[in-house]
Symmetry: C2
Subunit: 214 residues, 2 copies
Amino acid sequence: MKALRTRHRIERVALELFDRDGYDNVSARQVAEAAGVTERTFFRHFATKLEPLMGNPDQRIEYFTDLLRQQPLHLDPLEAVLATIAHEEAEYPPTPEDLMRRRIVLATPSLLPEIQAFERAIERGFVEWLAERTGRSVDDFEIAVVASILVVTRRNVFEAWSSSGGSETLLSLSRRALATLDLHLDPATAGDAAGQEGDQGVGRDGDASDDGEG
Amino acid sequence: MKALRTRHRIERVALELFDRDGYDNVSARQVAEAAGVTERTFFRHFATKLEPLMGNPDQRIEYFTDLLRQQPLHLDPLEAVLATIAHEEAEYPPTPEDLMRRRIVLATPSLLPEIQAFERAIERGFVEWLAERTGRSVDDFEIAVVASILVVTRRNVFEAWSSSGGSETLLSLSRRALATLDLHLDPATAGDAAGQEGDQGVGRDGDASDDGEG
DNA sequence: ATCCTGTTTGTCAGTCACTGACAGATCGTC
DNA sequence: GACGATCTGTCAGTGACTGACAAACAGGAT
């Protein structure tokens, strides 16, 4: 009961200090003491110095994929992902705290590896979602390819959006992303993709078109 | 002169220990002492504990993008990347040491963030390459989208290949990846992609097809 | 108020990655 | 064999994190 309040206090103080002085210039001890607590206590509530900033990744991923599952099946996977982002951002605009978190992360290059690892976690969530949606296995190669593309495209749309400073909307960027690529993985006809056709070179032979096997 | 030999010795010992006992279970001090050297000396030759394992990322990226630049222009970007991988792997098969490095990395989940950050570095290299190839800006949104897709697809092909244990070839996987997606970014006609067409929803309106503006 | 029990916290000591400063060793060279 | 440059060891310190233990602090039952 009390632990929760302490946890929130530490988190709030941590964000403020990270934002003011830079994540790398603030030690866990400083955050702890500013929150009226010992360093040891800090690490009892947060496994890492990063956690007050990033929150629980699994939780966020589950939330997002839950939204994804509510998207109609006639959408391409990429359409579904982009629509979810745009809808979510419009429906529940980010709180000042959310914006602070984003600001801190963007201002801290040394955090890049962690962010990237977080993306991989998202990717796993997408793989499961795609597997459900298409009836394929989670080990399926095409599922893996598509899932990873969804993740990075999501990131690109997001990054372009936040760095455009409002001149672009999530919607317009989503359309441009969609126009740039064309995923061959409809939920219904879940293309079986190429097998092996024993000639040399990597290029497509005849034409990819729709090798339809419904 | 002597430093180079010391460096190589540390590197060799590091790989052996990492491989035998696991990266996380071997401290920099242990590596140093096994190499007949102080911990401080270890960190004089390598900036991080990771470096003996990963080498210089920038160097590897430059090497790969140099190969990319030699690919004929009529190839799709993805074709060029996949062809380069396949060709490289066939021409210069990995040494036992290369295999050891891969083994260690795969056996060490805590290294995931670093690997991911490395991928982002590759992505930056790809962006430059694509910008040259298409005559676009390195800040171009479509370039960013395509570059990130190239990177993750490269990874997917590679991972599927190493985990298939030889049942799949880089070539066959490359073909499957190519069939799965279809990039709209030819080096010549470098599609201008969609602008804004003011209706709601993220879905493509008419059809993406080839909005040719050559 | 008091006792009892479980939770929360502080203290202490330790590991590991990594760094700066300085002094001793070693190398190639004349 | 003296000499300047390079290489290395020693020492001390920071910052993230962990385990062990005991003191402080709940809240409810008596």
